[in-house]
Symmetry: C2
């Protein structure tokens, strides 16, 4: 049988990250390639206790079909929490629970974009979201990322050039893959442009709670007096990704349409994990976030010090970060980045992701690569960076 | 803001079932409208024990990111189980774990259909799947359901008339909403037509394990020497729907493309529930299925007896069943079916779903309605059917 796939899906291959992750199953490989939260950050005993209590007190709710919008107590609590803590959510907004934040991007694009419509995105950006948009036949238009966020001049040019742009996709805090945080001024400028051109914003914020230095910058969603912003939050980095619980807060008509789309995808997100997330937020959530920040601060500072020690002397630069899970490093001009990544994992058992994987056009030239520091242990991190430094000293000679 | 939704999504409203389910929150309403498994069928204490063991022995696997294809032990076990017990799965097949079987339909359609492509389906059929196909811009072409399954002459006409047909969607066992089971002869005929016209089959089998009478008929997938059938199974009706675990077994290239699509939707299905499903299958699974069948046999036989007593005397007919969760009842010619459904729930607090909701064209004439018997208690079932009989005697006078 000669299978004919849909035009949108025919062009997508499993992501380059997945290919590199295959090497990570070799326990000798140092996994700077993953995006996994640190396992020591999982509140295992509390989740176990909450889970046991659910099965004692309320098992049928956890096991029966539920509403597509999500578990009502969690929805109500999150609305209040976002409003109180982050000034997110207006009267015209609603909230839906999703199966991970990836589903927010997919549902938003499915609800709003026809095949061929344009989605404007930071370039590079999270490959999972890019592929999600591609899977629906959307056309991606990239806007460069500067150290203070999206290049707004390039954004305006893109908006002018593409009247069929439907969404602007941004990760404003500790962007994946660059680690860049968008300044408050640019957030205001981005919102003003979206308003001017009548385009919705998808604000993806999985890492916002993982800020370990500097001042928190308000979400773009806090500016949203016009019903333009779909804000995505997630429990994947602050509780556990294997549970697949996230949420979107956005204009009521859009959330309603996304709910209809979700009904046709997975009916609803698993109840057990929604109930665990709800119970978990009831007690000591802020203390838990603080303990996470301490873990990631330690790992990030250690990693930046190792970059200074092992990469910078060979001409490799990196963008300093104040949160998140990733560092963005760049080889000196003329160096063969794809070969550097391939030889590092093949010959030296150090895995990380070539920056081109995150581009809207993966064949465009790129000198950068993404280093994750949350997955490896301290020991592995040191070993990996020593090896990488030794390899770089030869490779870049 | 005037939101412009995608063409495919703009036309879909929340399903009529959801609207009627709203009445079901009134505890006085008898819910013949739902599709919920009987809560007494949930193996609560075993799930609780397995869950506790997972958090004791293997918490990080349950909480960390996992593979998009699914939890490897569950995938391996299911492949073996399907082969051994149901003769399903050939060398060229693979298996993916999904977040409920609804996701199988969505991923298959997304992988194989462009907007405007045709999906041929039993008519009436499960509204969730129909809306899932609609959400991707597929055009639905309905084929009538006869007491022994899909009308194959109408199917062949549809295949001839629509060269851009990409999928044939069928629920061969205890079809939702009609309760009809497709005969072995028709399964063979359907497969032959699919082969002749080069169209794939999506075989949705959520209720197959709930047969309480008659002989099991082999799946269409058992005939699949040509790599034409995507078979969907689910834990929703045999374990618990709130967990959202299901699977698809199909030709390797199709499963691979569906895996890429799933990566862009929810990355992977929650690990906890995959691990619970795997552990649950390891011991006493067949005994559990037998106890389920006993529960549903009792409920179905009781419901059919109540139909004989309270509906048939007023000229309402129904299709007898040998499994599943639904009965399909039909009003005498000339009766106003939509009004019957509306007045029953509004004035008599008995909720069920108008048959038109399940049609590819919900505006087409329809005299039937769907009665679920798994959700109400025995007491509520009796009370509901008494009320419905009294109402019918006046309404149909």
């Amino acid at each position: 049988m000669n299978y004919r796939f849909s035009e949108a899906m025919a062009g997508i291959s499993p992501s380059a990250i997945r290919e590199i992750l295959k090497y990570s199953t070799d326990p000798e490989v140092v996994p700077f390639s993953a995006g996994n939260p640190a396992p020591e950050a999982f509140p295992v005993s509390r989740i176990a206790a909450i889970s046991a209590r659910i099965f004692q007190e309320n098992p049928i709710t956890a096991l029966q079909y539920g509403a597509t919008e999500g578990y009502q107590p969690l929805r109500d609590y999150l609305k209040q929490y976002l409003k109180t803590k982050h000034a997110i959510g207006l009267d015209g907004d609603d909230l839906i629970i999703t199966s991970g934040a990836q589903q927010v991007m997919e549902l938003a694009a499915k609800s709003l974009c026809n095949a061929g419509d344009v989605i404007i995105t930071e370039d590079p950006s999270f490959i999972g979201s890019l592929n999600s948009f591609r899977s629906l036949g959307a056309k991606l238009v990239g806007v460069p990322v500067q150290p203070d966020g999206m290049d707004l001049e390039a954004l305006e040019s893109a908006l002018k050039a593409h009247p069929n742009a439907k969404l602007i996709y941004t990760i404003p805090n500790f962007q994946n893959p660059t680690g860049v945080t968008m300044s408050w001024k640019k957030r205001q400028g981005l919102y003003a442009l979206a308003k001017q051109y009548g385009v919705l914003i998808v604000e993806d914020n999985p890492y916002g709670d993982l800020r370990f230095a500097g001042e928190e910058i308000p979400a773009i969603k806090t500016l949203d007096t016009d019903g333009l912003v779909i804000y995505a939050g997630s429990f994947s980095k602050v509780l556990a990704p294997g549970m697949r619980v996230a949420y979107a807060c956005g204009p009521d008509p859009v959330i309603r349409k996304m709910t209809v789309a979700k009904q046709g995808e997975d009916v609803h997100t698993g109840l057990w994990q929604q109930m665990v997330a709800y119970e978990f937020m009831q007690e000591g959530f802020e203390e838990h976030l603080q303990s996470l920040r301490a873990i990631y601060r330690g790992k990030a500072e250690r990693m930046m010090a190792l970059c200074e020690e092992y990469l910078v002397p060979h001409g490799i630069t990196y963008l300093p970060i104040e949160g998140g899970l990733f560092l963005w490093a760049t080889l000196p001009e003329g160096a063969d980045m794809p070969r550097f990544c391939t030889e590092a994992v093949r010959d030296h058992k150090v895995a990380f992701v070539p920056g081109s994987a995150f581009l809207t056009d993966p064949t465009a030239p790129c000198q950068s690569f993404r280093l994750n520091f949350s997955t490896p242990t301290d020991e592995a991190m040191l070993r990996g960076m020593e090896k990488l430094g030794a390899f770089a000293s030869k490779f870049l000679k």
